[in-house]
C-alpha cells in the first residue's frame, strides 16, 4: 500500500506515516510532512507525535525479549507435522528428536524403494538454504564415498517445498552411546572395545577427507545386534554444512550447540567465532571427551559449568580450562557409587583402574595444542588396545617442564610477576610428585627383576627416602601456600586495588586446578589447602568455583576421617555457605541442618562451632523467608554467644546483625532499628569505620530505614517517612563508596549495594538517577553472574519499574496541555 504516496490526497495517516518513516533525513521528512499536511494542522501535529513515538523507545512495547528471543522458531510448525510429505517422496511418520538446528523425523520413503529413513529438517532464516546446500554439496561426493558398517549412510539432501534444507539418512534404531553403556552396565573393558570400533569408523571418514566436527554420544548411536552392541556414527558432514551460516544472532545464541559444535565436546581451536582452521584433530579431541565420559560419567567441562557462563566466557573456558584427570574426577565425583555400579565395579577399584595409563591416554587426546594429540583416530585406538592387552601405552604423564610451560602460557604477562612465588612452590610440589612416581616405578622394577634384587632395593629405598623428604617439604610448601592464600581474603587486606584482585583470583583458580591435577602428597593436606583456597574464593565472590573445591575437600575428609570428624564438619559448613552464596538454597539448607546436628552431638551444644552452625542455619531459614523459625534460633544463638564469647566479640555482633535483619523482615521494624544501631556502633568501635562488617551493618540499617519509611508513609506520617528515606539514601551512598574502594566495582556485595541505593533513589522520586544506576547494576551483574542468576531477575524488574515511573513522570505535564486542546479523546471513565 505505501507505494502510492504522492498521488493520493489527502493521504491517510498510515500511508503518510510509512512514507515519512522511509525518509531518513530529518529535514526532508519535515518538508514532506509540511507539504502533505498543508491546511491540516491537526494531522500535522498528530504526525509529529507519532514520529516522536516512533523514534523513542517504549519500555512496554519494546520488551527486552522482543520477538521471543529465547523461544523456538515458529516457522517449523507451519511445515512440520506427521503426515507431511517432503520432496514428494518422504512421508513424515514420527518426530524422533528436536535440536537447535531443526527436528529429526522417522519417515517413510515411497520411491524408488519403500523403506524407513531418518529425515532431518533444518530451520533457517529465509534465503539461506542455498548457502547450506552449496556448502554441503562440496562434501557430498566425499560423504557418498564413505562406506563403513559403523557410519550411518547419507541417502539424500535437498530443499522442502517451503525452502528449508533437509537431509535423509539411514535410520538407526539405536540409543546414544553413554545411555547404552549405562543401561547395559558395560564394564570398562567392554566400553573400551566399543570405543575402539568408534575410533576406527572415524578413521575411515578421515581417510575419505571428511571431518565430523560434532562428535558426541548423541551422534554415536548403539544398536543391539544379537545382543552385541554395534555403534553407528551419524551426521557426518552435517556440522560442516551448518558452520559459517549467516544465522541471526538469536539463532546463534539459542542453538549455539548445534551451530558451531557442542561446547562440552568442542576442541579449543573450534572455540572461536571464526574457527576456519579445523582439521581431523578436532575429532580426536571430541573422541577424547567421549572416552572421558565413558570412564567417569561426566565431561571435563560439565554441563553445569557451561550453563553458568556467557558465550565468550564459555569459549574461553573451552580454550583454556585444563581437564582434570579422569581418576581425579572420579574421586571427587559425588555420584561415584552409581558411576562405578554402572561399570560393574567398586568405586575404589574403578579409580585404581583408571589412574595412570587411562588418565594419560585421555589427557593426550585432550591436549589443548593439537600437535600433542594422537595424530590419527587409529593411533588413538591402538593405544587403548595396548592398555587392554596390558602393553605399555605411548601416552605418558605430563612432564614438570611441560606443566610449568603451560602454566606460564596461560597467564597474561602482567600476572606473571605475581605468580612467581606460586610457581616456585608448585615446581617443588611437582618435583615431589615425580619423585614418588619414580620410587613406585623403581619398586615395580625391583619386583620383576629379581636377578639384581639387592641393588634395586637399595636404589628404591634411597629414592623412597628422598621422596619422603620431599613430601615433608611439600607439606611445608602447602602451609606457606595456604597462608599466602589466607592473606588474600579481602576482609584481611587493608588496602587493595582492583587489578591485584584480578590477579589473585586468577592465581587462586590456577592453584585449584594445579592442586587437583598433580596427585601430590597426603590427600588430607590437599583437603586442608582446598579449604583455604575455597574460603579465599568465597571472599572474592567466586562461589561456584569455591563449591567445586569444597566438594572435593569434603569427599577426601569424609573418606579419610569419617563423616563426623570436626574437620569434615568444618568443610561441610563452608560448602553449605558456598551453596547459599551461589543462590542454591535447596542445597545449602539441608547441609547446614546436617552439620548443626552433628556438631551438637560431637562437640556439645555450646561449642563455638555449634553456635556457628546455629547462626548459619538461622541465616539460611531467614534466606528462605521462614522468619518465624529464624528469629528464635537467632535469639538463642545471640544469648549463647554473649555468654560464651562476650558482647563485643565479632561473632556475637554478627548474630546481632542477623537477628535485627530477621526482625526487620518479620515486620518488627521497631525492634530491628535499635538492634542495627547497636551492632553498627559496636562494630565501628571494635573494627573501625571501613571494615566490611561495619559496612554490612550500615547497609542493613539503611534498609531498615527504607522499610521504616514505608511504614511511616502507610501510617500517614509523611515527615517521618521522608527523613527516614533521606537517612537511608545517605547511608547507602556511604556504604557503596566504601565497598567500591574495598571490594572492587563488580563484587556481588557492591552490586547489591548499588541496587539498594537505586531503590532509595526511586523511592525518593530521583528517577533518572535510579534508572541509570539500575542499568549499571544489571550490565555488571549479567557480565559477572550470567543472565539466569537469581540475583539478576529482581534487578531487571526493578529497572523496568523505574523506567515506567520515569516515563509516566515525563509524560505527566504533557497530559495537561493536550487535555485542553483535544477534549474529544477524553477517556470515558472506569468500567
Amino acid at each position: 500500500m505505501p507505494a502510492r504516496l504522492a498521488k493520493i490526497k489527502p493521504m491517510n495517516e498510515l500511508d503518510l506515516f510509512a512514507a515519512a518513516v522511509a525518509v531518513a533525513d530529518r529535514d526532508q521528512r519535515e518538508a514532506l510532512l509540511n507539504r502533505e499536511c498543508a491546511g491540516l494542522p491537526d494531522l500535522r501535529s498528530r504526525m509529529g507525535r507519532l514520529l516522536e513515538a516512533h523514534f523513542a523507545s517504549h519500555p512496554l512495547l519494546d520488551p527486552p525479549a522482543a520477538d521471543g528471543a529465547r523461544a523456538p522458531p515458529i516457522d517449523g510448525i507451519l511445515l512440520e507435522a506427521a503426515g507431511a510429505v517432503i520432496s514428494g517422496k518422504y512421508k513424515l511418520l514420527e518426530r524422533l528428536g528436536e535440536g537447535g538446528m531443526g527436528s529429526v523425523w522417522m519417515a517413510e520413503q515411497t520411491e524408488p524403494i519403500r523403506r524407513k529413513v531418518a529425515a532431518k529438517l533444518i530451520r533457517v532464516e529465509r534465503g539461506q538454504s542455498h548457502a547450506i546446500l552449496a556448502r554441503f554439496d562440496a562434501e557430498r561426493q566425499a560423504i557418498a564415498l564413505m562406506d563403513h558398517p559403523h557410519i550411518a549412510r547419507l541417502l539424500d539432501a535437498g530443499t522442502t517445498e517451503t525452502g528449508s534444507p533437509f537431509f535423509v539418512m539411514e535410520l538407526v534404531k539405536g540409543v546414544p552411546l553413554t545411555d547404552y553403556c549405562d543401561t547395559h552396565k558395560l564394564s570398562i573393558p567392554q566400553r573400551l572395545c566399543l570405543f575402539i570400533q568408534i575410533c576406527l569408523a572415524v578413521q575411515h571418514a578421515h581417510q575419505k577427507g571428511i571431518i565430523h566436527r560434532d562428535l558426541k554420544p548423541t551422534n554415536i548411536l548403539v544398536e543391539s545386534h544379537d545382543g552385541k552392541p554395534v555403534p553407528k556414527v551419524i551426521d557426518f558432514g552435517l556440522a560442516k554444512a551448518a558452520t559459517g551460516l549467516k544465522l541471526s544472532e538469536r539463532t546463534l545464541y539459542t542453538s549455539f550447540g548445534s551451530v558451531i559444535g557442542t561446547p562440552q565436546y568442542m576442541a579449543p581451536e573450534q572455540a572461536s567465532f571464526n574457527a576456519l582452521d579445523v582439521d581431523t584433530r578436532a575429532d580426536i579431541y571430541a573422541l577424547g571427551v567421549v572416552l572421558y565420559e565413558l570412564l567417569t560419567g561426566t565431561t571435563p567441562l560439565t554441563r553445569a559449568m557451561i550453563k553458568e557462563t556467557q558465550l565468550d566466557e564459555m569459549l574461553k573456558l573451552i580454550r583454556e580450562q585444563e581437564a582434570p584427570t579422569p581418576s581425579s574426577r572420579l574421586s571427587s565425583s559425588e555420584s561415584q557409587p552409581s558411576v562405578a555400579a554402572n561399570r560393574k565395579m567398586e568405586p575404589a577399584r574403578l579409580g585404581r583402574l583408571v589412574r595412570g595409563e587411562l588418565d594419560w591416554i585421555v589427557l593426550k587426546a585432550l591436549s589443548k595444542e593439537r600437535e600433542r594429540r594422537y595424530e590419527t583416530a587409529s593411533s588413538f585406538a591402538r593405544d587403548v588396545e595396548r592398555f587392554l592387552n596390558q602393553e605399555a601405552v605411548t601416552a605418558g604423564p605430563p612432564t614438570a617442564a611441560y606443566r610449568l610451560q603451560k602454566f606460564v602460557r596461560r597467564h597474561r604477562p602482567q600476572a606473571i610477576a605475581a605468580s612467581l612465588v606460586l610457581l616456585a612452590l608448585l615446581a617443588g610440589v611437582i618435583g615431589t610428585t615425580l619423585g614418588l612416581l619414580a620410587a613406585n616405578r623403581a619398586t615395580d622394577a625391583e619386583r620383576t627383576a629379581k636377578n639384581n634384587a639387592l641393588e634395586q632395593e637399595r636404589l628404591a629405598e634411597a629414592k623412597r627416602r628422598e621422596a619422603e623428604r620431599n613430601l615433608e617439604l611439600a607439606k611445608k610448601g602447602n602451609l606457606i601456600l595456604g597462608s599466602v592464600f589466607a592473606g588474600l581474603d579481602p576482609k584481611k587486606i587493608a588496602e587493595s586495588g582492583r587489578p591485584l584482585q584480578d590477579v589473585l583470583r586468577q592465581n587462586l583458580t590456577q592453584a585449584v586446578r594445579e592442586l587437583e591435577g598433580s596427585a601430590l602428597g597426603d590427600p588430607l593436606e590437599v583437603a586442608a589447602m582446598q579449604n583455604t583456597l575455597g574460603n579465599s574464593l568465597l571472599g572474592l565472590g567466586e562461589a561456584a568455583l569455591a563449591i567445586e573445591v569444597f566438594e572435593r575437600a569434603r569427599g577426601t575428609r569424609t573418606a579419610r576421617l569419617g563423616p563426623d570428624h570436626p574437620d569434615t564438619l568444618v568443610t561441610m559448613n563452608h560448602l553449605a555457605r558456598a551453596y547459599q552464596l551461589n543462590g542454591q538454597l535447596a542445597k545449602s539448607r539441608p547441609l547446614f541442618e546436617e552439620t548443626l546436628a552433628k556438631r551438637k552431638t560431637t562437640l556439645g551444644p555450646n561449642h563455638p562451632d555449634t553456635l556457628e552452625s546455629m547462626d548459619n542455619l538461622a541465616w539460611a531459614l531467614h534466606g528462605s523467608h521462614e522468619f518465624a523459625k529464624a528469629v528464635p534460633l537467632f535469639e538463642e544463638t545471640l544469648e549463647k554467644r554473649k555468654a560464651t564469647l562476650g558482647t563485643g566479640h565479632s561473632d556475637t555482633l554478627s548474630t546481632m546483625g542477623h537477628l535485627a535483619a530477621a526482625y526487620a523482615l518479620n515486620g518488627q521494624i521497631a525492634r530491628a532499628v535499635p538492634l542495627y544501631k547497636e551492632t553498627l556502633e559496636k562494630r565501628k568501635a571494635a573494627l573501625g569505620p571501613d571494615h566490611p562488617d561495619t559496612l554490612e551493618s550500615m547497609d542493613d540499617l539503611a534498609t531498615a530505614h527504607m522499610a521504616g519509611s514505608q511504614l511511616a508513609m502507610a501510617g500517614g506520617r509523611v515527615a517521618d517517612a521522608n527523613s527516614q528515606l533521606t537517612e537511608a539514601a545517605r547511608l547507602y551512598e556511604e556504604v557503596l563508596q566504601k565497598k567500591k574502594a574495598r571490594l572492587g566495582p563488580d563484587h556481588p556485595s557492591t552490586l547489591g549495594g548499588m541496587n539498594n541505593l537505586a531503590l532509595a533513589y526511586m523511592a525518593s522520586g530521583q528517577l533518572a538517577k535510579s534508572v541509570a544506576l539500575f542499568e549499571e547494576v544489571l550490565r555488571m551483574q549479567e557480565a559477572k553472574l550470567g543472565p539466569d542468576h537469581p540475583q539478576t531477575m529482581p534487578v531487571k524488574e526493578n529497572l523496568a519499574t523505574a523506567r515506567l515511573m520515569e516515563s509516566k513522570e515525563r509524560d505527566a505535564p504533557e497530559l495537561g496541555t493536550q487535555g485542553s486542546q483535544a477534549p474529544a479523546t477524553q477517556p470515558t471513565g472506569e468500567q
Binding site: 506515516f17 518513516v21 513515538a53 512496554l60 521471543g68 523482615l665 542493613d700 523511592a763
Partner: protein, 165 residues
C-alpha cells in the same frame, strides 16, 4: 474452521499450559508466549494445511492476549488492597512489576482495532502470539515490507495513545 471457531479450543489448551507453567515458576514470572503457542499447537494435534495453521496462530495470539490480560487484572485486583508494596529483603529489594500497563495496552489495542483492524491484528500476533515480523507477515499473507510499516505505525499509534490516556 475459522479463527473464531478455533478460539475456544485454543484458549482452553493455552490456559491449561500457562497455568501448569506458572505453577512451577517463581512468582512474578512472565510467560513465554512463543513457547506456549508452539506447545499448544503440538498438543492440539498439529493440523496440516498452511491455511489452518495461520488460523491457529491468529486464534492463539488472541487467546494469549486474553490470558495475559486476565492474569494482569487478577493481580492488579489483589494489589489494590494495600497499594504499591515494596518487598523488603536485606540484600535485594524487589518492587513488583506493574500490571496496569498491560491492561492499558489491551485497551489501547482494542481502540486501534476500531481504526486499523489489520494493524491491530499484526500487533496482536507479534506482541501476544510471540511471532516474528516475518512469521506474522506469512500468517497475514502480506509482504514483509508491509508488515514492517504496519508494525512501526501500530507501535507509534499505541505509544501515543498510551501517553495521552
Amino acid at each position: 474452521m475459522t479463527p473464531g471457531e478455533l478460539l475456544p479450543q485454543v484458549y482452553d489448551e493455552l490456559r491449561k499450559l500457562a497455568a501448569a507453567k506458572l505453577a512451577h515458576e517463581k512468582p512474578g514470572q512472565t510467560l513465554d508466549a512463543t513457547a506456549l503457542v508452539h506447545e499448544a499447537f503440538l498438543k492440539l494435534g498439529g493440523d496440516r494445511s498452511f491455511a489452518s495453521k495461520c488460523d491457529y496462530l491468529k486464534a492463539a495470539a488472541l487467546a494469549m492476549r486474553r490470558i495475559l490480560v486476565d492474569r494482569a487484572r487478577a493481580r492488579n485486583a489483589a494489589k489494590r488492597g494495600g497499594g504499591r508494596r515494596v518487598d523488603l529483603e536485606s540484600r535485594h529489594l524487589v518492587v513488583p512489576p506493574p500490571d496496569e500497563e498491560l491492561e492499558a495496552l489491551d485497551e489501547a489495542l482494542s481502540k486501534l482495532a476500531l481504526e486499523h483492524p489489520h494493524v491491530a491484528g499484526l500487533v496482536q500476533l507479534r506482541f501476544f502470539g510471540g511471532l516474528t515480523l516475518a512469521q506474522s507477515a506469512a500468517v497475514l499473507e502480506i509482504s514483509e515490507r508491509t508488515a514492517d510499516s504496519w508494525w512501526a505505525y501500530g507501535r507509534a499509534w499505541l505509544s501515543v495513545n498510551l501517553k495521552e490516556n
